[in-house]
Amino acid sequence: MTESPVPTQAVLTDRYEVGDFFDEMFTSAGEPRSHYRRLHELLSEMTAEAFNESRSNADISFLYQGITFTVYSQHEQGIERIFPFDLIPRIIPGSEWSLLERGLSQRVTALNQFLFDIYHDQRIIKDKVIPADLIFGARNFRREMIGINVPKNVYAHITGTDLVRDDKGNYFVLEDNLRSPSGVSYMLENRQAMKRTFAGLFQRYGVRAVEHYPQELLNTLRSVAPHDNPDPNVVLLTPGIYNSAYFEHAFLGRQMGIEIVEGRDLVVHDNRVYTRTTKGLKPVDVIYRRIDDDFIDPLSFKNDSLLGCAGLLNAFRAGNVTLANAIGTGVADDKAVYAYVPAMIRYYLSEEPILHNVPTYLGMHENECDYIVNNLHQLVVKSVNESGGYGMLVGPHSSQAERERFRDLVKADPRNFVAQPIVRLSRHPTYQNGELYGCHVDLRPYILCGENVRIVPGGLTRVALRSGSLVVNSSQGGGSKDTWVLSD
């Protein structure tokens, strides 16, 4: 700690500014919300000194346990950093959670039906609910998948949906991540760190557990084994130790007690996948893969990929191995296809969406494209296939030159861009550098889908630590905090 705050000063003082946002802890009048009351009391009593000490202990234990992520495109290649962790938890009342739970499960069910449909009869296109060129022009639409059946018709086994709240506190879906979403290990490790620090508070609060996530994930993976194999060999496929999420791969592999393999550990023979072991070859049934479609099989996709395994797609098409998530799920988290998810829910489930989308303008529609290029200063513009906060423009925070560049980009390839109005993201008190201030947050729960849909009560709350910043991604200076779902 470089700061030396006055020792007797409490963490939470009346200097905290709620600001002109929805604050998760305080009402606009500055009163703590009822589900935050006990935490509020604690923070008003705890001295900054004691708090700092717990905080640096948590930092050190993260470093020693190797809970780090790697940052690319820096001068030093692949520096390791601790994913900044904020000790003040985000709290969600039980009633609010059950709404989210229903909304997410509805959404994931519809998305899976959509994926089944577009890789089979394409009814949704024939019925003109979604334009054909949007699907066939999507970069992550995989023709190789057409007509292929996957166990239980599930494509997206693991989904990490990003939720945000606006200035009224309403929840919106910001994006659906159906291509191996990451971050769940932070949800679990943050909880461990919090339990060490605030043991007493947990009991009094009735926080619902998240520790069973790895078991739920394993159950999900086992339930989708090919040929209903009751005792499948499940492995986790990682790009390797230089991947920024490798820590997470190893963590989940260990928690589930499954082998983590790299492409070079796999070999395909007669459309069957095997691992190379010290005692010869061992058959594999389910692959929880943390590699993008593009890299998974050099015979079918990028032919210079060293990360995948030659012949894997054929083994998959032959139904001898399950890939989680399936190949081709990326088409559903295309940011332009996202705009149609509410329509999917109505089309497949005949229900009204419980969770709403952020209003989205599509570059592919001429009039919306005009609106985008003329209003860049008040929109967030996103490239449809990028993730991790790359390839986006935050209008109000951008320079004239950046806006010019994006105007040209959008005009050159309108299909590739969408724009959304700025959501005045909710804020949460966050303690950094001896100071308690409001930071913008989002929430990523993890939705598991096998035989049925399961959601562990909690998720990863990401924090934009840079004061005023709206980007919460770990690669862009974001941090995280523990998320408590209460059992009331």
């Binding site: 020693y64 190797g66 592999g253 070079r264 010290t278």
Partner: protein, 327 residues
């Protein structure tokens, strides 16, 4: 177990052991020098000989003195066997098999890594001895933690093989260099000092004393370090242990595997050699032979367990035994 994983465990363990051995050799030399009258170069050149990196050293330094040798062995970027490099490699290997080793082991490996990362600052702040102690304790603690927190299954055995082969290799090299210099001396205080240094370099001084009481002679010391079956750094002990691990793994094989055969052979030889056959001028050729056999055993291990060819299950006809290795 995955071949890649076995490979990483084996090397993780070898590198930790290597870092410890190099540190101990350095420490002992510093201590010995406090009592000796030898010139700097005479005292430090043999240390580089032990590691077998003379050519590399000469390419970067002119003089064999305490400063250069320490820098070379501790952190010089050109030296692939420098302590910092060893620990970094050990950690990289451990990282690749994070789910195979216990969290305690991984945490400890990280501690070691952060310690050597700040090596220059650590040494200037606390002096070399405290730093050396930390590395040594770190490595020993790592072996202890491994022993106590990990299932003693196949993964554990690969760690043991790596450790014991590395240790045997270093002991042989220490004997080689130190025996040569003692042999030139007449029996007297100077020779005793060198013999004590030789034993201390293998943490063997006290153990030797218990076994041989007052006979501090080159022949007895060499015999102890080569053939003792109970001392954990003696060559015979290390190779016995490596053999035991390999035998455990090939239990269900019909014939002994390559590494099993080569380790078995050398172990029986060590059982029956008389120290008098290898004293004096015979020492160096014999030690070279030992090093060669150990290298062979290492290669056999790589071939047998790490670079497995694709052996198809029996139901496939043999014509399909093409190799499908991808690197």
């Amino acid at each position: 177990m995955l071949s890649r994983v076995a490979d990483a465990l084996y090397w993780m363990s070898r590198y930790v052991e290597r870092a410890e051995d190099i540190t101990r050799i350095l420490t002992v030399n510093f201590h010995t020098l406090l009592d000796a009258k030898t010139e700097d170069a005479q005292a430090w050149e043999p240390i580089i000989n032990i590691t077998g990196d003379e050519d590399l050293f000469r390419r970067h330094f002119d003089d064999f003195n305490a400063r250069n040798v320490s820098e070379f062995l501790l952190w010089h970027p050109a030296n692939p066997n420098a302590v910092t490099t060893c620990i970094t490699h050990a950690r990289e290997n451990g990282r690749g098999v994070r789910e195979q080793i216990s969290s305690e082991m991984w945490e400890h490996l990280n501690r070691l890594y952060f310690l050597v990362k700040d090596i220059k600052r650590e040494i200037s702040a606390r002096g070399p001895y405290e730093f050396f102690d930390k590395i040594r304790h770190g490595s020993q603690a790592f072996q202890g933690i491994t022993n106590e927190t990990m299932t003693h299954g196949e993964a554990y055995e690969f760690i043991q093989i790596g450790k014991h082969l590395e240790r045997a290799d270093k002991t042989v090299r220490i004997i080689d260099v130190k025996y040569a210099s003692v042999n030139q001396l007449r029996e007297g205080p100077e020779s005793s000092l060198q013999l004590i240094a030789m034993l201390r370099s293998c943490s063997a001084f006290e153990a030797f004393r218990k076994a041989h009481l007052s006979q501090l002679q080159p022949a007895r010391v060499a015999e102890f370090l080569l053939f003792n079956q109970q001392f954990p750094r003696a060559v015979a002990y290390c190779l016995q242990r490596a053999l035991r691990s390999v035998a455990l793994m090939s239990e269900d094989a019909k014939h002994p595997t390559g590494p099993h055969r080569s380790l078995g052979r050398i172990c029986s030889e060590l059982d029956y050699v008389d120290i008098n056959e290898v004293l004096g001028v015979n020492m160096r050729p014999y030690l070279n032979r030992l090093l060669n056999i150990m290298n062979q055993a290492g290669d056999e291990i790589t071939r047998t367990y790490f670079h497995t060819q694709v052996i198809l299950p029996a139901e496939y006809p043999p014509r399909q035994q093409q190799t499908q290795q991808q690197q």
